[in-house]
């Protein structure tokens, strides 16, 4: 009996210490996860707030392109120039959220205007809440990219509706040095990696102008008719949009080769984006049904209630199919 009395406190102690170590390890794990989100948060901000220049490679499928980037934040605004270094060098200038693209096509250079698009390394939103809902983050091994020490991160989807990502973040400056997108079979769909990178310590903006080719004619691209949409669908509603995806834009636009306007909705989970097009079927255009996968881009089209529904996005095939089937027509 005395023996049991003596043993009891010892076993209790063991249980308590076990519980304690379990709790601290859970706590430590939670802290480590939070630290990794901090690293990703820093990468999201550093891409906008730092001034840097370098060359990175974009690779998708069998194609690979070197791109020269110059990015500057001068305290008041953000300026960037991306030059695709190939036979027909394209220059992309961004100032704040506005993009101006100089795109050589045959004898012309077509000037295109865009708004609110994210260019590498600024591919992460500064608010990571939406990403946290659909992805989990964990630390990888320390690595080196472009001669710099980097922290590797695994951003894995919590479901099968999106691809997974690997990020390499500069250990010193927090800048994203490499980004890889993989499918569920762990095959690389897209990779963007800095080959050389350096910080700039100037606020001179001499570089922020296009290289003008006097032999070419500069023309604005064909204006795409876009009508702001109040977002209230008239003849249809959405039910069962893929989890984690939020509607970020809605417009009525003319699509090349279509005589009738098309309703265009854009969805995002913070990283991946999907477009949904809804248009009334017209007599001249053959209805289209089917699905396709090219690289990481999935395509799905179906016909319902006299409407053509089309979904395109950098997501798995199941996601585009689910979004197309989320459109219900009011009877």
């Amino acid at each position: 009996m005395a023996l049991i009395k003596q043993r009891l406190p010892t076993s209790l102690c063991a249980i308590f210490s076990l519980l304690f170590s379990l709790l601290t390890s859970i706590n430590a794990q939670a802290n480590a996860d939070e630290d990794m989100w901090q690293v990703l948060q820093k990468a999201a901000v550093a891409a906008h707030a730092l001034s840097y220049q370098g060359i990175f490679y974009y690779q998708a499928g069998t194609q690979s392109k070197p791109i020269q980037i110059t990015h500057m934040f001068n305290g008041q605004g953000e300026f960037a120039r991306n030059v695709v270094l190939d036979n027909t060098p394209r220059e992309v200038f961004s100032q704040g959220g506005d993009l101006t693209i100089f795109n050589p096509k045959n004898k012309n250079v077509v000037i295109e205007k865009r708004h609110g698009q994210n260019m590498f390394p600024a591919i992460l939103p500064t608010n990571l809440d939406l990403i946290k809902q659909s992805y989990s983050l964990r630390a990888g091994e320390p690595d080196r990219v472009a001669g710099r020490a980097a922290q590797m991160l695994f951003l894995d989807p919590k479901d099968t509706l999106r691809y997974s990502y690997r990020f390499w973040v500069d250990a010193q400056y927090g800048l994203l040095l490499k980004s890889v997108m993989l499918n569920s079979r762990n095959e690389i769909i897209e990779s963007i990696v800095f080959n050389q990178i350096g910080l700039m310590d100037t606020v001179d903006l001499d570089w922020f102008q296009p290289k003008i080719d006097t032999k070419k004619t500069y023309v604005m691209e064909d204006e795409v008719v876009i009508i702001a949409d109040d977002g209230v669908p008239v003849g249809w509603s959405l039910k069962g949009v893929p989890a984690g995806f939020r509607k970020i834009d809605q417009m009525i636009r003319m699509v090349h080769g279509k005589s009738l306007p098309v309703t265009h909705l854009v969805f995002s989970d913070g990283l991946a984006s999907v477009s949904l097009f809804i248009e009334p079927l017209s007599k001249n255009i053959k209805p289209r049904t089917g699905r396709k996968l090219a690289g990481g881009t999935s395509f799905y089209s179906s016909v319902s209630n006299g409407y053509q529904i089309t979904v395109v996005g950098e997501v798995p095939e199941a996601t585009v199919a689910q979004l197309a089937n989320a459109v219900f027509f009011k009877k």
């Binding site: 974009y58 998708a60 194609q63 695709v84 394209r90 992309v92 100032q95 506005d98 993009l99 101006t100 693209i101 100089f102 096509k105 000037i111 205007k113 865009r114 609110g116 698009q117 994210n118 260019m119 102008q209 296009p210 003008i212 006097t214 004619t217 500069y218 604005m220 691209e221 064909d222 204006e223 795409v224 008719v225 009508i227 970020i248 417009m251 009525i252 699509v255 090349h256 080769g257 279509k258 306007p261 098309v262 265009h264 854009v266 995002s268 990283l271 991946a272 984006s273 477009s275 097009f277 255009i285 053959k286 289209r288 396709k292 090219a294 881009t297 395509f299 395109v312 996005g313 950098e314």
Partner: protein, 165 residues
């Protein structure tokens, strides 16, 4: 010559010293073209509104999309005219507005004249593209891919141009 035109645009040459450049632009077609191209590039970079070549067609298309109201609500018309009187703009605004209207009409006429001869050509190209898009069974239809890439937040499409018209 082009460098001097560029310098004039950048205010690096005083207007009074630029007589020879302006003369050259009046006589030399290439110099005049360089002037208009540099202005177009500058406007695009600064984010100034630039009228595209398709401005007229697109405007007409937009007007067509607008619903036609056959019987305006009289109560609403009264309300609108009341609001109009309440917020009546100074006369100078009306003059400016009619001047702007004349400018737009003038531009449209000019555009029509210059594009009358080749107006059919782009339409034919557009039709050919569509039939190709429907018949081609391998890739993703370019018209939707282009629209997606133009509006989606991820912009890697600029690095590799998978599609082009």
């Amino acid at each position: 010559m082009n460098e001097q035109i560029s310098a004039l645009l950048d205010d690096e040459i005083a207007l009074e010293d630029a007589a020879h450049i302006i003369n050259a632009m009046l006589k030399n077609k290439d110099a005049a073209q360089a002037w208009s191209q540099y202005n177009l590039i500058g406007d695009a970079m600064r984010g100034n509104a630039v009228l595209s070549q398709q401005f007229k067609q697109n405007l007409m298309q937009k007007i067509q999309i607008e619903p036609t109201v056959l019987s305006p609500n009289t109560a609403l018309v009264d309300q609108i005219s009341h609001v109009k009187h309440a917020n009546k703009l100074p006369t100078s605004w009306a003059i400016a507005a009619s001047f702007a209207a004349v400018m737009v009409v003038g531009f449209m006429l000019l555009n029509q004249q210059t594009h009358n001869n080749n107006e059919l050509a782009p339409m034919e190209v557009a039709q050919a593209d569509v039939s190709k898009g429907v018949a081609a069974d391998e890739g993703i239809p370019t018209e939707y891919l282009n629209a997606h890439q133009a509006s989606a937040p991820s912009a890697s499409a600029y690095y590799i141009q998978t599609v082009s018209y």
